[in-house]
Symmetry: C2
Subunit: 202 residues, 2 copies
Amino acid sequence: MAVIADITVSLDGYVTGPNPGPSNGLGDGGEALHAWVFASDSPQDRDVLERSMARYGAVVMGRRLFDVVDGPSGWSEDRGFGAGAEPDGAPPVFVVTHTQPEHVRLADQMHIVTEGVAVAVARAVDAAGDKDVSVMGGGSVIRSVLAEGLADRLVLHVAPLLLGSGTPLFTADEPLRASLHIDDVVATMHATHMTYLVGAVH
Amino acid sequence: MAVIADITVSLDGYVTGPNPGPSNGLGDGGEALHAWVFASDSPQDRDVLERSMARYGAVVMGRRLFDVVDGPSGWSEDRGFGAGAEPDGAPPVFVVTHTQPEHVRLADQMHIVTEGVAVAVARAVDAAGDKDVSVMGGGSVIRSVLAEGLADRLVLHVAPLLLGSGTPLFTADEPLRASLHIDDVVATMHATHMTYLVGAVH
C-alpha cells in the first residue's frame, strides 16, 4: 500500500492552462495535457493508465478539480461528480474542501472531507485496503500531501508542451525542497511518465 | 546542423538554487542538479555527456552563466572563462551580454557578443561548421532562443530533486507556448534526459 501523488503536467510545470474552471475544464489549451489519456494509441500509455487504475483502491482530490471533472454543474447543482454514473466497483473518492457544500447529491462512493488533506488521505488509506491511494490533484492538494510528508511516490506525466501560464504545480510561494529517487520512467510520444520515490520534504 | 537549447533543471523547473552567483555557483543546493555530470557512474549519463560534447561545434551562453562557470573572478579580473586552460580543440564559445566588459582577457576561443542572442547564435552556427550549436544557458538565454524561434531542439536534463526556489527556467513573466515533439528520453538514477523537437513557439 502506497500513497501516490499522480498528476499530469506540462513541460513548463502547469497542471492547467490559463482560465481553468468548471465551464472551461483544464483551461485554455489545457486539454492537450491529457492527450496521453484521450488521444494516444500507444500501448504504453494505455498500460500506464490501466496499471494505475488497477492499483488504486481510493482517490483523493481537491474541490476545484472535483468541479472541473464534474463539469459545469459543480457543487451548486443537485448532483456531484459521477452521481449515478459510476460503474460498480469504482474506487471511493475523498474530496478535500474547506466547507461542506449544501446543495450536492453525491454518488455513493464520493465523500466530502473538510478536516484537511491529512484526514482525507487517512480515510482513503483505510478505504483502499491493500491497494494504493491516488492523490490526483489539483496542484494545491499535491503540494499539501508532499509538504506534509504523506506521499510515498510522485508520478508526473510530463506532456510535451509549453503552456506559458496557468496553474503551476510547484510555486515559489510554497516552496518544497526534496530529494527524490527515480523509480521508473516510461516515455511515449504523448508523455514522459516519471515515477519518483519521495524522500524527506522540507 | 542543429541549434540545441541544452540545460539541466530540477523537477520543479529551476536551473539554479537560491542565491546563485560567481561566489556561490549554481546557488544553494544547486550543485545537486549536476550529479549526473559529476557524481554518476552510469554509462548512460556518461554517454549523454560525451555524445553532446562530440556533437557540439560551438557554444552560446549568457553572461551570468559565464561568470558562474568562471568562478569568483568573473569579468572584473584579468582573465575569462578558461583563459589559457582550455584544451586544444575546445569549441568556440559566444557569450551574450549587454555591454562589452572592460577588464577581461579571454581565451582564444571565447567571444563576446553584445548584439543579442540571435547574432550570437548566427555566429555560433558559422563557427560550428557541420556540427551542432549548444545553447547552454542560463535560463534567460534559453528562453530567448526559444522565443525567437532559433532552437531546433530542447534538451532538458531533469534532476530528481525539488529546489523550491532559485532561477526558474520558464517564467510567467515571459510566457512561451509551444508544441514539442518527444524525440528521445534516457532515464538514469541521476537525471531524465529529455530531447524535444521544437515546433512553433508563440
